[in-house]
């Protein structure tokens, strides 16, 4: 099925819904956005792409009224505004799906979706009309394909399910412009398909869409126009007919990307890490058996909530295992805390960067050295020089875009933050690396760098388990692919069996052979 040709672009509508001219925003040391001018027509799907830190989220935050631009003007329906506020943004029909999840896990799904816009009962007391609320939420949940009900507490939803709630929330606004800031970064295939069809239906209703994604093929499929940012500046616009993967990449990074390195054919090493009948908290009734070998990248695919993250947490000692054994180099080991795992050279790059990966308030250097301090210190005393040197080495190696290693990590873009997490582990000597969605929210250039790093690690003999919901990535990077279905390994694919279909079939619980 080819979706790329079924969207005719509407012929030049009269006035743009929203028009930015010369908009800029400066942070200390960084020009996040510079002199940006852009028109958004009704019913237009704009793909917004750019490397990490290019300024995409900054632009969106300006439109959402969350931050105020330093310069430039905004024309909304022809009326000039200095800046937007959150209220004026919402009331003029700008809806958001944020890059970082912004849900309240102490409230239920319905409350989250209509927060700030609850239907009220008659009377002066502003009481919530809970029945109407439920009725309003149901069709939205159906539209995004959610299987949970309106009064499910958000706390019990997985990350992907939470993202669905976010999308439903954006749809619930009587929107004229819906902005998706990397909505698919934690959505697996089936849900992503549904999202793309939602975008098309929005467009059909005359609603404008801004779609930010690092998965360029998705952008390719839905966008009428692609806007490319680089270092806060608009470097090019691609009309419908010019949109193509290579064109986008060229504008984004200013050069053509070398073709992905072919996987070397070589025999994998011995088994590094083995799960034998391991039971995780999410699926205590389903034992998992899995072997990861030195020198290979084992991809781990699966649908939302198939239990991949849980498995990674057990390997890393964050969760306890409810049965079975973990073997390293053939020896049964007990990992009862992350400390044990780290001591054995088993490292995890977690899925939720902000919560588990880094300390936003710490300088880059201190984040990088945090796990390796015992080695960088002498008799428990810190050594600033050794720390800086070690961090600087990693900064250069991973090309982390920052003024210096003493920059606060929180000011970096998502991709560069992810690199800091990687740097933390790469500075030590990993034996087994577990990557949970390693390129979530990371631009294509950085993505390739990370793939390169993973491959180099594997070549150096490290065993790698890569959890990913990005089909391209799983197939393109892995040496073998294990597919999880409802907490169990449904099957393992060798390289010659790789295909989107075979992964998907296993993921939904069908046998391939």
């Amino acid at each position: 099925m080819n979706h790329s040709s079924d969207i005719p672009s509407p012929d030049a509508p009269a006035t743009p819904f929203l028009s930015l001219s010369g908009v800029g925003k400066t942070y200390p040391g960084v020009v996040a956005l510079e002199g940006l001018s852009i028109d958004i027509m009704p019913g237009e799907v704009i793909g917004l792409v750019g490397e990490n830190g290019a300024g995409k989220s900054t632009l969106m935050k300006i439109l959402g009224g969350v931050i105020t631009p330093d310069r430039g003007t905004i024309l909304l329906d022809g009326a000039e505004l200095r800046s937007l506020t959150v209220e004026s943004s919402i009331s003029s029909g700008i809806a958001f799906v944020h890059q970082e999840l912004n849900l309240f896990d102490n409230l239920d799904v319905a409350a989250n979706i209509f927060l700030g816009r609850e239907p009220l009962k008659a009377g002066p007391f502003k009481l919530v009309d809970r029945d109407r609320l439920r009725d309003m939420v149901k069709p939205l949940l159906k539209r995004v394909g959610a299987h949970f009900s309106a009064d499910t507490p958000v706390a019990s939803l997985s990350l992907a399910e939470q993202q669905m709630v976010e999308i439903a929330k954006a749809l619930s606004i009587n929107a004229r412009l819906v902005i998706f800031d990397e909505p698919t970064s934690s959505l697996p295939l089936a849900e992503t398909e549904r999202l793309l069809s939602i975008i098309k239906s929005l467009k059909a209703d005359g609603i404008s869409v801004i779609f930010i994604s690092h998965r360029l093929h998705e952008v390719e499929r839905v966008a009428d126009r692609v806007v490319v940012l680089r270092d806060g500046t608009l470097v090019g616009t691609l009309a419908r007919n010019d949109i193509g993967h290579d064109q986008m990449v060229k504008l984004m990074i200013g050069r053509v990307l070398a073709a992905r390195t072919a996987k070397p054919q070589r025999s994998p090493g011995s088994v590094a890490l083995k799960a034998s009948g391991v039971r995780t908290e999410a699926y205590p009734g389903r034992p998992v058996d899995l072997e990861i070998r030195y020198g290979e990248i084992m991809g781990l695919a699966g649908l939302v909530g198939s239990g991949r993250t849980e498995l990674a947490r057990v390997f890393f000692g964050i969760d306890r295992s409810y049965g079975g054994a973990i073997l390293q180099d053939g020896q049964e080991i007990s990992v009862r805390s992350a400390r044990d795992a780290v001591a054995r050279g088993i490292f995890l790059v977690p899925e939720d960067r902000k919560r588990n990966g880094i300390l936003l308030d710490f300088p880059i250097a201190q984040n990088i050295t945090l796990a390796d301090l015992p080695k960088l210190s002498s008799r428990f005393m810190l050594s600033a020089e050794r720390e800086t040197a070690a961090a600087e080495k990693q900064r250069l190696r991973l090309a982390i875009k920052a003024p210096s290693v003493s920059t606060r990590t929180g000011t970096l873009s998502g991709g560069n933050q992810q690199k800091v997490v990687l740097a933390k582990w790469l500075s030590m000597s990993p034996r087994v690396m577990i990557f949970d969605e390693p390129t979530r929210g990371i631009d294509i250039g950085a993505k390739n760098e990370i793939y390169g790093l993973m491959r180099a690690l594997a070549d150096a003999g490290v065993a790698i388990l890569m959890i990913s919901s990005d089909m391209e990535e799983v197939i393109g990077v892995s040496d073998r692919i294990a597919v999880m279905h409802e907490g169990q390994i449904a099957g393992i694919l060798e390289e010659d069996e790789f295909s989107q279909e075979s992964v998907l079939l296993l993921a939904v619980g069908k046998r391939v052979k």
């Binding site: 102490n106 927060l115 502003k126 205590p284 009734g285 049965g323």
Partner: protein, 341 residues
């Protein structure tokens, strides 16, 4: 949430039964009425505190405010000869203003609630003491305000009016917190203030309202306390009342991290605390142990609550395991799944 409240209620009843068996006088109407009166006084205070705690804040100046506002109220009506019909709204307004100032410092100037209200604790206590030059504010012998006294210290068919006031306030506040948009916003803010702001909620204004409500309810209970003791030595009056209020909220299932708790819970928490105080006196336990009993019960309460959660989570896991296993064996597939517990 409801389950937690039920557990607390059960504890209250069990403790009550045990006390009643040891000393049947516990159940005398007069004793129940006396205790209900104090439940009313402290309950109003605790509900105010609860509103602040929901937002993830804390209000430490409550005890000092009870002293300051009490001193002012008594002074206004007993010394300055102000009509109580005027003094009462004046004090309530003052409480609201102080709450608003706290809220303003916290939301606009970004100070931490703990710091702001700690300073409040010190400043208001000092102000109260300075106002009376460390003397006692009280009514002269025979100085009576029948209407006011009926409202604040009287009984209605044997039920103390303070308790009735608590019930009314609790119902209103329950609707406000659990059924109105405002309450929902407070929960959202308590969980994640930034995200709430992104949803278009005027978080500053909401948090400020919570402090205003707390100030208002504190002022009201300050008046009740003043009319109950009828005499206020500003150096000690109301000391540690903020801790009572916080303890009641915590017992009632509130999280000091914000975003969790219910009005029913905080009221039940107050009831339990007052029952304990009553118990110490009725069972002739040395009054030096009063505090220790309170502390012990709170600790045990949160421990049970915590363990309860942990056990339930575990049981859910086990039953989930069993469930999936039977499903598997029915399906007859994957024999690996059937072994091991």
């Amino acid at each position: 949430m409801v389950k937690k409240d039920l557990g607390l209620l059960l504890l209250i009843v069990v403790v009550g039964i045990v006390v009643a068996i040891i000393n049947p006088r516990f159940l005398l109407p007069i004793n129940l009425a006396n205790t209900a009166n104090l439940i009313g006084l402290f309950g109003i205070l605790s509900i105010g505190q609860a509103f602040v705690i929901i937002t993830g804040g804390i209000e430490l100046s409550v005890g000092s405010l009870v002293a300051l506002l009490g001193v002012l109220f008594v002074d206004f009506i007993a010394v300055q000869d102000m009509s109580w019909m005027l003094a009462l709204p004046l004090i309530l307004a003052l409480g609201a203003v102080i709450g608003a100032v706290h809220g303003w410092l916290i939301t606009r100037l970004n100070l931490q609630p703990f710091v702001v209200t700690l300073c409040g604790l010190l400043i208001y206590r000092g102000a109260a003491r300075f106002y009376t030059a460390d003397g006692t504010a009280g009514f002269a012998f025979g100085q009576n305000f029948p209407d006011l006294e009926f409202l604040t210290a009287g009984r209605f068919y044997g039920v103390p009016n303070t308790f009735i006031a608590l019930v009314i306030i609790a119902v209103v506040m329950w609707i406000m917190l659990h059924r109105s948009v405002f309450g929902r916003y407070l929960y959202a803010i308590g969980k994640n203030e930034e995200a709430a702001r992104y949803s278009g909620i005027r978080t500053g204004r909401m948090v400020m309202s919570a402090y205003v409500i707390c100030g208002l309810l504190t002022a009201l209970s300050a008046i009740y306390f003043a009319m109950y003791t009828r005499s206020i030595s500003p150096a000690s009056h109301g000391q540690f009342y903020e801790l009572y209020a916080i303890a009641a909220a915590v017992l009632g299932g509130f999280s000091l991290r914000g975003g969790e708790g219910s009005i029913v819970g905080v009221v039940l928490g107050t009831v339990l605390l007052q029952e304990l105080q009553n118990l110490v006196n009725l069972l002739g336990i040395p009054s030096s142990l009063n505090f220790a009993v309170m502390g012990g019960v709170i600790l045990i309460g949160v421990l049970i609550d915590q363990q309860w959660h942990a056990i339930r989570a575990k049981r859910r896991l086990v039953s989930a395991a069993r469930h999936t296993e039977t499903r598997h064996s029915n399906e007859g597939s994957l024999p690996v799944a059937a072994n091991q517990d």
